[in-house]
């Protein structure tokens, strides 16, 4: 994806809005379904204006029942629709967990390939916005651990614009995590490209090397990408390569391993709690694959193994530039 500064700068929320609009235009079977997504335009305004333009049967306000939303989306998919459901916040996806894990993830397999589940489950996730409990969680590992699902997360407006459309176009179910504190970050977005044409855009299931470097590789995703890019810029003497994983399931180990073979060091960064998170998987695989190339152990910079803390503590919970650089220093000094 080339970024020509000629393209307008928009927020990630707007880029997602545009991407959803394109998806609704492209395929009449695409529906949006979620709480408050219609007249209100979603609590983050990501669906702003879409109900007005596509009608109440394409952009559907749902009752306050997450299992009901995902469960009926399954039925709609069985009827040939391509539902894009919104969970209002990360902490409210759990009532739908059963339908996601036992049905969305397994129906294609159960049907021996006869039924597809082209459902996209959009989840604004992560902290850093001073919210109350249940509004700042990072539950991506639950879904990455679940066979049958794919998991994507964009880190900038251009990626959001492209990957939301790729997610919707995928015949596999995709849990699409939107880094909510980056909703208002701006970036230039090229809307002239066709996100479904892999000659024009990158494969969404591949990691993206956003910055090359020679001393340490940082693997990160979603809200942490900006933080890690800033850390890479701030780090004077250490040359840092920054990889945006983007696809959390499947993980693109080839790109990470390729980088680590060159740098010899890996720091994995995410907001979610550490234990059995995405970082654990990356560390486990890279420690094995790059055993002989690693000059220091793979290190993780993550949220702690505590419930997301009240907002006045979140700056201590969230990995920031200093913590990332601190780990980079340790890895370099190993």
């Amino acid at each position: 994806m080339e970024r020509t500064p000629a393209h307008p700068e928009v927020t990630m929320a707007k880029a997602l809005n545009d991407g959803l609009r394109r998806a609704l235009e492209r395929d009449a079977k695409t529906l949006l379904f979620g709480q408050d997504i219609g007249r209100l335009g979603g609590v983050f305004r990501v669906t702003d204006g879409l109900q007005k333009d596509f009608g109440e049967h394409r952009v559907i306000d749902a009752p306050l029942a997450e299992s009901g939303i995902v469960g009926t989306a399954i039925g709609l998919a069985m009827r040939g629709y391509r539902p894009v459901v919104e969970m209002q916040f990360d902490g409210f996806v759990y009532p739908a967990f059963d339908q996601i894990v036992s049905q969305v993830a397994k129906i294609h397999r159960r049907s021996e390939g006869r039924v597809i589940m082209p459902i996209t489950i959009r989840i604004p996730y992560g902290g850093g916005i001073g919210a109350v409990e249940h509004h700042s969680e990072s539950p991506e590992a639950y879904f990455a651990h679940t066979a049958g699902l794919r998991v994507l997360t964009p880190s900038d407006p251009q990626a959001a614009y492209v990957t939301i459309q790729q997610a919707i176009a995928s015949n596999d179910p995709v849990v699409y995590f939107e880094p909510k504190r980056r909703y208002w970050d701006k970036g230039s977005v090229d809307r002239t490209i066709d996100p479904l044409d892999l000659r024009e855009v990158a494969d969404p299931w591949r990691a993206r090397i956003l910055r090359t470097g020679s001393d340490v590789t940082i693997a990160c995703y979603g809200p942490m990408v900006r933080t890690c890019l800033e850390a890479a810029t701030a780090s004077g003497d250490v040359s840092i390569e920054v990889i945006d994983l983007q696809s959390l399931s499947p993980l693109d180990f080839d790109t990470i391993a390729g980088s680590v073979e060159r740098t010899g060091r890996l720091v994995v960064v995410h907001e979610a709690s550490r234990t059995a998170g995405i970082g654990a998987e990356v560390a486990a695989v890279i420690s094995e694959r790059c055993f002989l190339s690693l000059e220091a152990p793979v290190t993780r910079v993550t949220g702690y193994d505590v419930p997301y803390p009240p907002s006045r503590l979140e700056d201590h919970y969230l990995p920031d530039l200093d913590r990332v650089l601190d780990s980079v220093d340790k890895v370099m000094a190993y």
Binding site: L31, H57, P63, A65, S67, G68, V70, G71, T72, A73, I74, G75, L76, A77, M78, R79, G80, Y81, P83, P95, D98, Q99, S102, Q103, K106, I107, H108, R109, R110, S111, E112, G113, R114, V115, I116, A147, G148, R150, S170, N171, D172, W205, P250, L251, D252, D254
Partner: protein
């Protein structure tokens, strides 16, 4: 036996003694051919069920959930469906899948352990069996919402048990069905038991009354009366197709067998209960009626028995010769689109198994 869940007004068109009675609201008029068809399906489903139970005992199936005693509820409701309607059964609805045209062996494949599915849901307009209690009620509502969006002339029917009425999903499906006025019929077979739990452990009042609390009609039908079941389901499906929204049907019936072949009902229920229900047997009842009315004769009943023997043979032979899936089949259809992780795991399994092959190649 507790009959508190039984409402005096349960719709009945055929008494346990096989007498045809009338009902002020519901009636049905079937040709002799159709009536014999109902009998045939019920009898063959019972045969299939018995054969599967036997095969499980012999170790040929991993498990079997018998529908013994529920044939009228299942066959009657499925016969009420049109070809464009879509059924969402559970693990016990062999009578439904049978009527939807799913071949006997496909019904058994899941319990043979060669697949978690068994048939093409779209070809038969019948979803695969849902095992997680209640999940499919929401699928049916979503499917029905799709029917509305398509402007199609069809309805969805969700099957579930008395136990399932306690689940959040089933109640949410009532909410969504009413809010979207979805063309869906909720067909609850109250077979009195959820494994060892009697109906009262799930609801204090008759189940069909639940619907009114959500703003849609509920009706209780004698679930062992195939005519009444068919009449009530037909009416509900017609209502749904006509844009009048959901209906909850409670088919009052009885699980004559154990919950599954793994279950031991002597631990929790009285044999006497079974005796009472034997007198209400759904197949006997229709048989008496057909015979008395001269709609079917001994020759007919014998021919169905013969057909049952053939079916049993087919099942016995067919189950034993179902092909074993190869190891790498576990990676099939997990995803539609390429997935490097699984491709790697698939390759590793193939390599690993190849490493056991005699190096000389014998």
């Amino acid at each position: 036996m507790d009959e508190s869940g039984r409402n005096g007004s349960a719709v009945q068109l055929l008494t346990p003694e096989g007498e045809r009675v009338t009902h002020p609201t519901y009636d049905i008029s079937l040709t002799d051919h159709e009536l014999r068809g109902l009998y045939r399906d019920m009898a063959l489903v019972r045969r299939l069920d018995a054969e599967a139970t036997a095969l499980q005992r012999q170790g040929e199936l991993g498990l079997w959930a018998s529908c013994l005693g529920q044939e009228a509820a299942q066959v009657g409701s499925a016969h009420a469906m049109g070809t464009s309607d879509f059924a969402f059964p559970t693990y016990r609805e062999h009578g439904v899948t049978w009527v939807r045209g799913v071949p006997a062996l496909d019904i058994l494949a899941m319990l043979r352990g060669v697949t978690n599915g068994g048939w093409d849901p779209n070809a038969h307009r019948c979803s695969l069996s849902t095992i997680v209690i209640g999940n499919q009620a929401l699928h049916a509502v979503g499917y029905a919402m799709g029917i509305t969006f398509d402007g199609a002339d069809a309805a969805a029917i969700a099957y579930f048990g008395d136990g399932a009425t306690a689940q959040g999903d089933v109640n949410e499906s009532f909410v969504l069905a009413t809010v979207f006025n979805a063309p869906v019929v909720f067909f609850c077979q109250n077979n009195q038991w959820a494994i060892s739990q009697p109906r009262e452990r799930q609801s204090r009042i008759p189940i069909f009354e639940r619907a009114a609390g959500f703003g849609f009609p509920g009706v209780q039908v004698d679930g062992n009366d195939v005519l009444a079941v068919m009449a009530v389901t037909r009416a509900a499906l017609a209502r749904a197709r006509g844009g009048e929204g959901p209906t909850l049907i409670e088919a009052y019936t009885y699980r004559m067998a154990a919950h599954t072949t793994s279950d031991d009902p002597t631990r929790y229920r009285m044999a006497s209960e079974l005796e009472v229900w034997r007198l209400r047997d759904p197949i006997e009842r229709l048989k008496v009626f057909l015979a008395r009315q001269g709609i079917a004769d001994r020759h007919f009943f014998d021919s169905i028995d013969d057909e049952g023997d053939l079916l049993a043979d087919e099942i016995r032979v067919g189950v034993r010769s179902m092909p074993e899936p190869p190891a790498e089949a576990m990676f099939d259809n997990v995803y539609c689109e390429p997935h490097p992780l699984l491709e790697g795991q698939r390759a590793s399994v193939i390599d690993y198994l190849a490493s056991f092959v005699d190096p000389v190649g014998r």
